[in-house]
């Protein structure tokens, strides 16, 4: 960012490096402002729906998104043009959430998901002899949006976040690794376990709501 600072020389041969406080008032700042609005604001919906699953609270989620935008705006001159702004915004929001919102977040009871077996849902549906065509259709048709969201909200945070970033936001594994600051292998294993938890969560919810019955019952 040329022009963000000033170098001045004196006859005594000293060079001064000092930040230029006038920088932000330049024409560039106005262009930046417009560019930011055009590039970043369209991602509000995506940021908010993920923020809702992170904070599990409407007003915290809105605050988180707003704060993430302000932060991104402040650091916009460091955003590399031509790279993925969506991933950049999500990274900023995720960092902000981890650093300052996580403790505020209301914690509904997180279900313990020890040892969910592989192919959980498949086996459950098969047990009922429903493994024909579209055995899942009946189950999926009955579940309401807010029920699915509740099930998601009960997943432990680290699994919930990778599931949101991959399933809903469509980020590739390496993008998620970058956004959350974790290893690629960790993304894979969390997504794997997250899926199993999701299956069990959905099944348990459906059972409780009477949408499905266990064969043994």
């Amino acid at each position: 960012m040329v022009g963000n600072a000033t170098t001045s020389e004196t006859e005594k041969g000293f060079t001064f490096f000092v930040p230029n406080p006038n920088f932000n008032t330049s024409v560039m700042a106005n262009q930046n402002h417009r560019e930011f609005e055009e590039l970043a604001i369209p991602h509000t919906d995506a940021l908010l729906r993920t923020a809702l699953r992170m904070t599990r609270n409407q007003s915290d989620a809105e605050d988180l998104v707003q704060e993430a935008f302000l932060k991104a705006y402040r650091f916009f001159d460091r955003f590399e043009r031509g790279t993925n702004i969506r991933a950049w915004l999500f990274k900023i929001m995720t960092n902000l959430f981890i650093n300052s919102y996580r403790n505020r977040a209301k914690r509904p009871q997180e279900t313990s998901f020890d040892e969910v077996e592989e192919n959980f849902l498949y086996n459950k549906l098969a047990e009922e002899g429903r493994a024909g065509t579209n055995p899942e259709k009946e189950l999926f048709d009955k579940l309401y949006t807010d029920e699915v969201q509740q099930v998601l909200d009960r997943l432990p945070e680290e699994f919930r976040m990778v599931v949101m970033l991959n399933f809903v936001e469509g980020f590739a594994y390496r993008e998620i690794a970058e956004i959350m600051g974790i290893e690629l292998g960790t993304v894979k294993s969390r997504l794997h376990r997250g899926r199993k938890m999701l299956q069990k969560g959905l099944w348990d919810h459906a059972k409780k709501a009477g949408y499905v019955k266990e064969k043994s019952e």
């Binding site: 960012m1 609005e37 302000l70 650091f75 794997h192």
Partner: protein, 258 residues
């Protein structure tokens, strides 16, 4: 030929489009013929699509968007007020220059007030620096500094040596120095006086301790290393640095040699 075990192993990655095209083609061919594998795949793929559809539902954001735009405009207008202090700032630079000369050379010829030569030279030499941090981030984390360095000066973010003293960092200043990447980090370790300077350039590091000087209520730090002399001071939370021309050449030679 790929077997059921291997399909199960890569199923999620296949659904998430994270396998290479060869493996993808093998899995595709397998599940076309193998009914149990296909059913597994089909259920998992549908589950993903189903959860995505349900969780993608988002309440309206029009109100939030206009609130954010309003906040952004507020922030955008703030620096204009800062700009009015340009003369105050220039005066500060001249005064600092005077103090440094006095200190270094003991020359008594510097007067007060903004030095027109400095202002003039400032306009002509903007290209020397590519980056400064105009304001300290509220919470400084290694991540934020890394991404700053990485995006601004292409600095390898793995080269942060000072994580253990990071909490004491007060300011930093990223720049190119005669075309070389450099970052000055200002530390004020508790109970210790002084400054640490880090020149990051191709993973080399350079970290002298400085001598603290107080003049007219303002603190300056003189640091020297390999015969290079630098004077630092902070201004509005930022690190300012003055380098003698001779020292600058030495510094350049130093960074070339590593």
């Amino acid at each position: 030929m790929i077997d059921c075990r291997k399909v199960a192993q890569h199923l999620y990655e296949y659904i998430d489009r994270e396998v290479d095209s060869k493996t993808a083609a093998e899995i595709e061919a397998h599940i076309k013929l193998c009914s149990p594998c296909f059913k597994e795949y089909d259920l998992e793929a549908k589950l993903k699509e189903f959860v995505c559809r349900k969780a993608a539902a988002c309440p309206g954001t029009d109100e939030l968007k206009s609130r954010i735009l309003e906040e952004l405009r507020k922030v955008a207008n703030e620096p204009a007020e800062r700009g009015k202090r340009i003369w105050l700032w220039t005066g500060g630079v001249a005064a600092a220059a005077a103090l440094i000369f006095l200190f270094v050379f003991g020359l008594p010829h510097i007067g007060g007030g903004p030095d027109p030569m400095i202002v003039q030279a400032a306009a002509e030499h903007q290209n020397h620096l590519v980056a400064t941090v105009p304001r300290l981030p509220e919470e400084i984390s290694i991540d934020s500094v890394n991404s700053l360095l990485e995006s601004q000066i292409g600095f390898d973010p793995e080269v942060v040596y000072f994580s253990h003293i990071w909490p004491q960092m007060r300011a930093f200043h990223a720049a190119t120095w005669n075309g070389r990447s450099a970052a000055c980090l200002y530390f004020a370790p508790e109970g210790e006086e002084g400054i640490s300077l880090l020149i990051c350039q191709d993973a080399s590091r350079w970290m002298p301790r400085g001598k603290k000087v107080r003049r007219s209520g303002k603190e300056y730090v003189m640091a020297s290393h390999n015969g290079c002399l630098m004077v630092f001071w902070t201004w509005e939370g930022m690190l300012c640095c003055a380098v003698g021309k001779e020292s600058q050449e030495k510094l350049l030679n130093f960074t070339r040699s590593v």
